[in-house]
């Protein structure tokens, strides 16, 4: 009897040993990732990991779309690809995290993503209070309203004309605050109907559950075009009721990382100024345009290597993703959004898209 008890105790001991023993060894090959990145810069973390974690929208036509095979495309997505191309020389080394507008800043500050490119408006409080910094604006947007011609609205309508109407918009965005503020200033009252996703707002608008739908102009133009309602729906006022500069966002206090993101955007803009596209980048005359030469790796690419990138980083961006104009027209022209004459035109043509010189 006693013997058997001893055997059983041995069994007991083995359980404990089995656990204890492996605990030490397992620390090496544990399946969980190491989390100890104290003191490491974002660039080092990204390079060690081997891919970029990019925060994008859960679905914004033209900016973040998921195709029928699960592949990503869109204006914001292309900038994620561009950053990956600059860091790794391979645009595909990105993991996308699709974030709702409510959780985007939490995800960024918690380190779940390295950069947030999710049509996020640059505002003072977001820049100063949330521990974020904003990169150069890639798309100048502005909030507008859309109503029906049948309701007596026209291009020249103003916020004062929507007094008493039902307005649909996304919850938890600057859009909601802007419209309330503007209508209040104009002395009117509206019935605000908030929805989770913008597509629901449009559905409600079509079904007649609201008279006005409001969001950034880019979203409205796209929806009006796909619904074949160019003559029936009207977007107003002509000058938007708010400024919505959209661009990449990253954590504060990491200027190396900030530089990489900023200059990726600038590189696409500079390439556009010189007319260098993905197709002709190999035949670009770098001798005649020293700025391009420096950007694409002349002098052993010291401008890039000092940033911690490889010499041909921005050449890879243009080669694999394209310049600003290509990214813009590829994603937004099909929706009826064009650069010509708008804020997003080249600075030389009267727009706001401008990059500091690469020197």
């Amino acid at each position: 009897m006693n013997k058997k008890a001893i055997v059983f105790l041995l069994v007991f001991a083995m359980v404990i040993v089995a656990c204890g023993d492996t605990t030490e060894e397992a620390a090496v090959e544990a399946t969980e990732e190491e989390h100890d990145h104290e003191g490491e810069s974002t660039l080092e973390q990204v390079q060690e990991r081997g891919f970029l974690k990019c925060g994008v929208s859960t679905g914004a036509t033209g900016f973040t779309e998921v195709g029928d095979d699960g592949s990503y495309s869109g204006f914001d997505v292309d900038y994620c690809y561009a950053v990956a191309a600059a860091i790794f020389g391979d645009y595909s080394k990105v993991e996308f995290k699709q974030l709702t507008s409510a959780e985007r800043f939490t995800a960024l500050s918690a380190g779940e993503i390295d950069v947030l490119i999710r049509n996020t408006t640059w505002t003072q409080s977001r820049d100063t209070e949330l521990g974020n910094d904003f990169g150069p604006t890639t798309y100048y947007d502005g909030q507008q309203l859309m109503g029906r011609v049948a309701d007596g609205l026209s291009n020249s309508s103003t916020v004062a004309d929507i007094d008493g109407l039902r307005v649909c918009t996304n919850a938890g965005t600057t859009t909601e605050k802007n419209i309330t503020e503007r209508v209040g200033l104009a002395g009117g009252t509206i019935q605000l109907i908030t929805v989770e996703a913008f597509s629901e707002a449009i559905d409600k608008f079509i079904a007649g559950e609201c008279d006005i739908v409001t969001t950034d102009g880019s979203g409205l133009v796209g929806r009006r075009a796909v619904n074949d309602a160019l003559n029936d729906w009207v977007i107003f006022p002509t000058s938007p009721i708010s400024k919505e500069p959209l661009g990449p966002t990253y954590r504060s206090n990491d200027s190396q990382w900030a530089d990489i993101i900023n200059w990726t955007v600038y590189a696409t803009i500079i390439a556009d100024e010189y007319g260098v596209t993905a197709a002709n980048v190999d035949s670009a005359d770098l001798e005649a345009n020293p700025e391009l030469g420096r950007l694409f790796g002349a002098n052993d690419g010291e401008l890039q290597t000092k940033m911690g990138l490889s010499a041909d980083a921005y050449y890879q961006v243009i080669k694999q993703v394209g310049n600003y104009d290509e990214i813009f027209s590829r994603n937004l022209n099909p929706l009826g959004l064009y650069r010509e004459g708008g804020d997003n035109d080249r600075w030389a043509d009267g727009g706001l898209i401008y990059a500091p010189p690469a020197r």
Binding site: K4, F8, M14, D68, F205, R223
Partner: protein, 600 residues
């Protein structure tokens, strides 16, 4: 059979539907609601502004999101395995042996009459909201002229069924079922579906041309259905082999493990690690299991067995949060499950022998699978996680149930235990988990859990959600099972005591089998709930089946424009959820019948 006694039928209708003024009124009201609902749905689905190809064209996205196409063979094999085992189970537990032609005709006539009725009441017009003006317009759909050919065919079928039913013929049900099952294969090969075609300018061609189903869909499904039918026939053939039934039952338990490790990573074995870690762990656990099986009847062992179990529970739960290799965690869980059933089964030499076999087989399988599953060669999914769409929903539902059921049993037993500490801990867990809404737990998993985990441990979001789900549905299972435990009369316990059973034997041989049997319907409804609740993960940014239809497809503009077509997708999603939950509840009804629930 077909000679319907009109008088009898009238009486049945009268008794059931018009027995009193109130019931007459209720009959009219309900039928009015049902018919309007059907007409509304039909009108919605057939309205010309609906683009159902937004569903069809995104099927891959719905099912596996971004899983790489080159590795689809893994998915197909897993789906195939699921079907093969379903076929075996259906065959093995088939209750009816024979069926007759007239019975069959009666079933078919019922279905056809139903379709005729629906065809007649279907609306001729549907409402389309004009996008431009917001005005609702009536458009014609499915006019009477279109219905007449369909109706005449259906009526003709009815007559044919009536005539055939006169023939007195009976045959094996398995034959009939295999014919049923072959119908989808034939349909796959002859059916033509509308397909999106782009012209030279990348514009969609209207109307969408009818094309045969693509080979990449057709061939795998054909193979899967054929193996399903074969498995069914094999199941019917081995119906009376008890060992075969046991093997299939055990395989069902192991199958999810195989499927998920197979989908997740490409197997690659590192010999060095294998010898240093995995083999010692494997042998250690193997010995522990076998020793437990053989020494269970020892008096001293019996005396300390409940403490051993308690310790095992603590160690297992602790190991989940500690940094030990996955094999230890899995083996501990497995050992725990085994240790619970060992006292019940290991009472005779035969029981011991078969239990040893089961233990060795399951431990080997687990070790083998984990070896493949934890290797470093993960399948690369560009941009997003491996699980997305239906595969994520399925993962959450199956693993939620898989882990939470044993957890629930343990918690319920713990709560009913007479040992105050165990009782307190289990009650505490159950009450804590149940008193907080599931959505809050999800946020906990997404935002707060990282703080609770030890330093240096970081789980993938999906894993965190799985842990939370396991505890959440585990707590609900526990309460359901406790209900079952309380339904057992005191006499049963006393009788067990009288014949000298110990606590473990009493629990596993007397209490649990009866308790679980009594709550099968509740358990199934719990499983269904957790299947549907998995769609809540959308709020923490995981892309499950519902989210794809709601957020993604309605925003697609490239290459094909589906902007704004989210309502079709929502209806489709509702339909898929319905199909799965309906199948589940039908299967559980059969299961209840087999257990004799509500009859004894």
């Amino acid at each position: 059979m077909m000679n319907i006694d009109i008088k009898k039928q009238t009486r049945v209708i009268k008794e059931n539907l018009f027995s009193s003024p109130v019931s007459t009124l209720l009959t009219f009201i309900t039928s009015y609601i049902m018919i309007s609902f059907f007409r509304g749905m039909f009108g919605f689905a057939t309205a010309p502004d609906k683009d159902w190809l937004s569903v069809l064209n995104n099927m891959q996205l719905y099912m596996v999101q971004a899983y790489p196409e080159s590795d689809f063979i893994r998915i197909w094999i897993c789906v195939g395995l699921g079907f093969i085992f379903s076929g075996l189970s259906v065959g093995l537990w088939e209750t009816e042996e024979k069926t007759s032609l007239s019975k069959l005709c009666l079933t078919f006539s019922k279905i056809v009459s139903g379709i005729i009725f629906l065809t007649i009441i279907a609306p001729t017009t549907s409402v389309v909201v004009s996008t431009a003006t917001g005005i609702r317009e009536q458009v014609d759909v499915f006019s009477y002229a279109e219905r007449i050919p369909l109706l005449s065919i259906l009526l003709g079928l009815l007559v044919v069924f009536f005539l055939i039913s006169k023939i007195n013929l009976s045959f094996n049900k398995s034959l009939l079922v295999s014919i049923y099952l072959l119908v989808p294969i034939i349909l796959l090969w002859i059916m033509k579906i509308p397909t999106i075609q782009l012209d030279a300018d990348n514009q969609r061609v209207f109307p969408d041309p009818l094309m045969p189903i693509a080979n990449s869909t057709k061939i795998p499904w054909t193979l899967i259905w054929i193996s399903f039918v074969v498995a069914y026939l094999v199941g019917v053939y081995f119906k009376n082999k008890k060992q075969f039934k046991n093997a299939v039952s055990i395989s069902w338990v192991l199958l999810p493990l195989l499927i998920f490790s197979w989908i997740f990573k490409k197997p690659l074995i590192d010999l060095n690690e294998l010898i240093r870690n995995d083999i010692p762990v494997f042998i250690g656990f193997l010995l522990i299991g076998v020793l437990t099986i053989y020494f269970i009847n020892n008096k001293i062992v019996e005396k300390f067995y409940s403490y051993y179990l308690g310790l095992l529970v603590v160690v297992t739960i602790a190991s989940l949060f500690l940094k030990v290799i996955l094999l230890v965690k899995a083996a501990l869980l497995l050992l725990l499950l085994f240790s619970v059933i060992i006292p019940a089964v290991s009472t005779s030499a035969k029981g011991k022998r078969s239990l040893t076999i089961v233990w060795v087989v399951s431990l080997t399988t687990t070790a083998f699978l984990l070896e493949g599953g934890t290797s470093t060669t993960q399948i690369v999914v560009p941009g997003s996680s491996i699980f997305g769409g239906f595969s994520l929903t399925w993962l959450l539902a199956i693993f939620g149930t898989y882990v939470s059921f044993p957890l629930g049993v343990l918690l319920a037993l713990g709560r009913n235990s007479s040992l105050p500490i165990i009782k307190g801990v289990c009650t505490g867990i159950i009450e804590l988990v149940r008193s907080v809404p599931y959505i809050t737990w999800l946020f906990f998993a997404s935002v707060t859990m990282a703080v609770f985990l030890p330093d240096g441990v970081e789980f993938n979001l999906i894993v965190r959600v799985l842990i939370v789900t396991a505890f959440f549905s585990g707590a609900y299972f526990a309460e359901n099972i406790r209900g079952g435990l309380q339904s057992i009369p005191k006499g049963q316990f006393e009788a067990a005591d009288a014949i000298g059973m110990n606590t473990v034997q009493k629990t596993s041989l007397i209490v649990l089998p009866q308790a679980l049997r009594a709550i099968v319907p509740t358990l199934v409804s719990s499983i269904i709930t957790s299947f549907k609740d998995s769609s809540l993960v959308t709020i923490i940014g995981l892309f499950d089946f519902l989210t794809i239809g709601r957020m993604v497809i309605g925003n697609q503009s490239i290459p094909i424009n589906f902007i704004g077509h989210d309502r079709e997708n929502l209806l489709f999603i509702a339909f898929v959820y319905w199909v799965f939950t309906f199948t589940l509840s039908r299967r559980s009804m059969k299961f209840e019948k087999r257990l004799g629930l509500g009859e004894r």
